[in-house]
Amino acid sequence: MGFLAPWFLAGALAVGLPVFVHLLRRQTTEPRPVSSLMFFERGTQSSVRHRRLRYLLLFTLRTLTVLLLALAFARPYFKHKTVLASDKLLLVAIDDSFSMNAKLGGAGTGTKLDEAKRQAVDVLAHKSAGQKAQVIELAGEMKLLTQPVADAGELRAAVESIQPGDGHATFGELGRGMRAMAETVHTPMELNLFSDMQQSNMPGNFADMVMPGNVDLKLHRIGDVKTAANWTVESVQAPGQLVDTKKARVIAVIAGHGTPAATRVAQLVVNNNVVTTKKVDVPADGRATVVFEGLDVPYGESRCAVRIDSSDAFANDDTRWFAVKRADPERMLFVHRGDDTRSPLYFGAALGAAAQAEFVLQPITPEQASDIDPTKYAFVVLSDVPQIPSILEHTLERNVAAGGNVLVATGLAESHKGAIPVWGGSVQDAHYYAQGGEGYASVGEMDGSHPALKSANGWQGTKFFYAAKVDPGDARVVAKLGDGTPLVMDKQIGEGHVLLFASGLDNVSNDLPLKPAFVAFVDEAAKYLSGEERASGARTVDSFVQLRNPVNGASSQRTTGATVDIIGPDGKRPLSLKEAAAAQSFQLEHSGFYQVHFANGRDALIAVNPDPRESDLATVPDDVLKLWSGAGAAGETKGAEGASQEADNRVSGLWWWVMLLLTITALAEVALASGYLGTQREQP
C-alpha cells in the first residue's frame, strides 16, 4: 500500500482537536447554582459511565473522521495482482499455410504442420485446468476453430483437425484479427503462434501485425532459421482455350529459392501423361524460363501441368496446374449496316490477329438477322446500327438476361438520338470533336481493372473524332474521354453484360482500329464477352470465382432457380444445394482442378495453384520476431482496459472507499451528536 500524496497525512495531527474537546475541555465544567437540591438526586456514577461511553463513541467517530479525511487527501492505493493465470485467455494459432507442408529439416520425418500441431498440443496440455483457450487456424484468413473453452479434449481435437492447407498466410491478417478480437475480449490474452515464420508472410507495413495491448505474443518457430533450398514452378502461361494445338505455347518459369545453380528437368503433363520433357538450367537463387512449343491436347477440357524434379524438402510446389480447353473456333455475330464495310473489316482483322484466333466473325446486316438465334454465338456485336429487327432485339435481350453478352458500338449513324438497342438508353447528344479546336479528343480516364481493357494501357495517342453522349445510369463507366464523356460502359442486365463503346469501330469516328491497342481490346473484349475470361487464367488458392452476377432489381426474377455446381479437387461438391442456388461466389481453398458449372449455363475447368510466395522458405530474422513479440507489451496501442503487463500489477486507488467510509463515519457522528444534544430539548 502506498500514498500518492503522503504529505497530506500530516493532516492527521488535527486529531488533537477532538482530543482537546473530549479529554481536556470536559474538565472545565463550572458548577451551576440552584435554589435547592431538595428535588435533585445524585446521578454521578451512572451518568459518568453513560457519558464516558457516549463520549468515547463520539470521540472515536470524530477521531476517525479526521483520520479518514487526512487519509483521503493522501490518496492511498495498493498494487495487486488483478489477473490470475486462469483469467488469461490462451490462444493457440497454427500456421496452416502451404509452406507448412514442407518437410521438417534434420532428423524429423513429418511436416512442419505436424510439428506445429504437436507443439500446440503440448502448450495446451500445460495450461491450468480452469484456464480457457481457443484454437486459431491461420491460412488465407484467420479462422477460430473453437470458442474460448477450458475443455482440453475439445481443444486438442480442434488442433488435430487442422489439415494441410494450400493458402497463403499473412501476419498482418493475424494482427487485424487480434485487434478485432481485443475490441470484445478485454481480458489479457496469450497468443502462441506456431509458424515457420516465412518472410513472405510479413505484410508490407509492420504496423499491420502489431498486437493490441492486452495480447502477450509468444512465437514458436517451426523449423530452422536457415533457409532451405527449394525449386518450384513459379508460373505457367498457357492459353485457356485453343484451336490450333501446334500454335499453342506453354511458358513456365522455374524458380529457385536459396538454391545453387542446377539443371532441372521440366515436364509438360497433359491428363497425367508426360508429353514433353525439357532440361532447364536454373541459376543460383534465380529463375529460368522453359517454353513448350505446341500443346497437343484432345478436344474438350484437359488437365495439364508443368512439373519439375526438384528433389528438395518441399515437393508440393514442384507442380503447377493449368487447364486447357480445345475447341473449334466459336462464331461471333457482327451486326452492321449494309453501307458500313469498315467496322467488320477492322474488327475481323483484329479478331483474327489475336493469338489463338478462337473466334470466327460472322458479319450480318440487321435485315438479315431477324431469324438469328444469338445463343449459338459466343457473343454479339452491334456495330453502329440504330435499329435492329424487333425480333432480334427481343431475342438479344432474353439472351443477355440469361447470360449472353453484347458489344454495342454507337458510331456516326447513332446520331439520330434514338434508343440504343439492348442497352436500354438512348444517345443524348453527339460530340463532333473534329469540328472543335484540336479536332479530336483523347481518353482521359480508364479503369484498367476491367477485363476488356487490361492491356489497353490507356489507349494513349488514340484520337476520337466523334463520340455519342450516353447517360451511363447504373452502368460501370470503364473509360472516359478528356471532357468527361463516357466512352466505354459496362452494364449488367440479368446474368449478361452489355458493353457499350460510345464511338465507332471504324476509322472514321476514331483512329483506334488503326492502333495495335485495338487488337488487344478486341481480343480481351471477345474473351470477356464470350465468358472465357472467367474460366481461364491462373488462379491462386483462396481467390474467389464469381458464380453468378449480383442479384439486383428486376433481373433477379429472371435468375431465380439457376443453380451452380462445383466439383472440387477431391471429387466432392463443396456447396450444399441451398448454397448452390444462391451463392454468388466461391472461394478456391485448395490447389488442383475445380469443375464449375456457372449460373449462366457455361462450364469451366479451373486450375488452382498455391500462392508462389509460399515457395520462398526464407524466414523472418530473429530480431524482427523479437521486435514483433515485444510490440505487444511495449506498443503504443494499449487499449483503455490496460495492457496485460500493467494489468498484472494494477494500481487500485482506495480514495473512493475511504471517502465512503468517511461519509458513513460523519453521518454516524452527526446522528450521535444530534441525539446527544437532543436531550436538551424541551419535553412537552
Partner: protein, 300 residues
C-alpha cells in the same frame, strides 16, 4: 399600554419600590373598570338589628333618624383588615434564570400589596423579614409614612442564610395580637408537612393566612446541557446530576411538591398562590384578590 409596565423585567428597570408599587397598583386598579367586587374592607355588606352590647360606633344614625329604628351597618372583612407580610429572605431567593430574582419579584409583590392596603384601603400593614431568624419587623400600622417604612424594609431585605419556618413563626406569634391577614412570600423549599405545621398556628389564631409561592420558571422546568454539577445556594452542597433525571424525575417531584403545597394549604384553610417570576405581576394580584373576594363573600 400599562400592561407593559407590569412585566417583571420592566419593573426591574424602575428604581424605587414605591414607584413600582404605584405603577402596579394604579395600572391594576385602572384596569378594574370600577368593579365593586374588589376590596379589603369598609365595604358595606348588610344591616343588622341592634342588640344590647353592640358597638354603638357601628349604628347607622342616619337610618335611625329616618326610621326611628336602630340598625348596625355590617362591612365585609372588617375583621381581617390588618395585613402582615412575611418575606422569606433566604439565599435561595437570589436564584434567577432571566434577570429578575425571586427576591425582586417578592419585593414587587409585597410593595404592591402594601400600596394597595395602605393607600387604597387604609388598612394597617406590617412586614416581617426572615430567613432562619427574624431579620426585620415593622409593626402593622396606618400611620403617616408607614408605606415608606415598609418599602425601606423591603429594600433592606437582602437574601442571606437558610430558610427555617419554625423559628420565625414562633416569634411572629408573639407579635400577633390581633387577627388579620398574614401573607407569606417564600419559595417554600421545605417539606409541605413541615411548612403547614409551622404556619398552622397562625390560622388557629384566627388570621387569614395566604402563601405566595414564588418560583423561577427554571425551577419548575430546569434545562441542563448535559451532566452538571449543581450547587445549593443555601447550603453550598454540590451534586452532579444528569439531564435525563432532570427531564423526568425532577419534574415529577416538583409537580408533586406543588400539588401537595396546594392541597395541604387548602386543607388547612389557608390560601395558596403560585407566582412564577416570568409572569406579569398584576396577574398574580388579580388572581389573589379575586379568590379572596370570593372567599369573603362565601363567609358572609
Amino acid at each position: 399600554m400599562l400592561q407593559r409596565f407590569l412585566d417583571p423585567a420592566v419593573l426591574q428597570g424602575i428604581s424605587g419600590l414605591d414607584l413600582v408599587a404605584k405603577t402596579v397598583v394604579d395600572g391594576f386598579v385602572a384596569g378594574l373598570h370600577r368593579s365593586p367586587e374588589f376590596g379589603f374592607s369598609l365595604e358595606f355588606a348588610e344591616y343588622r338589628a341592634y342588640t344590647p352590647g353592640d358597638d354603638l360606633r357601628h349604628v347607622d344614625w342616619n337610618l335611625f333618624a329616618r326610621t326611628d329604628r336602630c340598625y348596625l351597618k355590617r362591612y365585609r372583612g372588617e375583621t381581617n383588615s390588618q395585613m402582615t407580610l412575611l418575606l422569606d429572605a433566604s439565599n435561595s431567593m437570589k436564584f434567577t434564570s432571566h434577570g429578575v430574582t425571586k427576591m425582586d419579584y417578592a419585593r414587587y409583590t409585597a410593595a404592591s400589596l402594601f400600596y394597595l392596603s395602605l393607600q387604597n384601603q387604609r388598612d394597617p400593614a406590617g412586614l416581617i423579614v426572615f430567613d432562619d431568624e427574624v431579620r426585620n419587623y415593622i409593626r402593622p400600622s396606618t400611620r403617616q409614612g408607614q408605606l415608606y417604612r415598609l418599602l425601606a424594609g423591603l429594600e433592606q431585605a437582602e437574601p442571606a442564610a437558610r430558610t427555617d419556618f419554625a423559628k420565625p413563626m414562633q416569634y411572629f406569634q408573639e407579635f400577633l395580637r390581633r387577627r388579620g391577614i398574614v401573607l407569606i412570600v417564600s419559595d417554600f423549599y421545605e417539606q409541605p408537612d413541615k411548612i403547614i405545621r409551622a404556619i398552622e398556628p397562625l390560622r388557629f389564631h384566627g388570621s387569614e393566612v395566604v402563601l405566595f409561592h414564588v418560583l423561577d420558571p427554571e425551577e419548575i422546568k430546569p434545562k441542563l446541557k448535559g451532566p452538571q454539577v449543581l450547587v445549593d445556594l443555601e447550603t453550598g452542597d454540590r451534586l452532579e446530576v444528569i439531564p435525563d433525571y432532570v427531564k423526568t424525575q425532577y419534574r415529577a417531584k416538583m409537580d408533586d411538591h406543588l400539588a401537595q403545597m396546594r392541597e395541604r394549604t387548602q386543607a388547612a384553610g389557608m390560601g395558596y398562590h403560585l407566582l412564577v417570576t416570568d409572569k406579569p405581576l398584576d396577574r398574580a394580584l388579580m388572581e389573589y384578590l379575586t379568590l379572596r373576594h370570593s372567599a369573603i363573600a362565601g363567609a358572609a
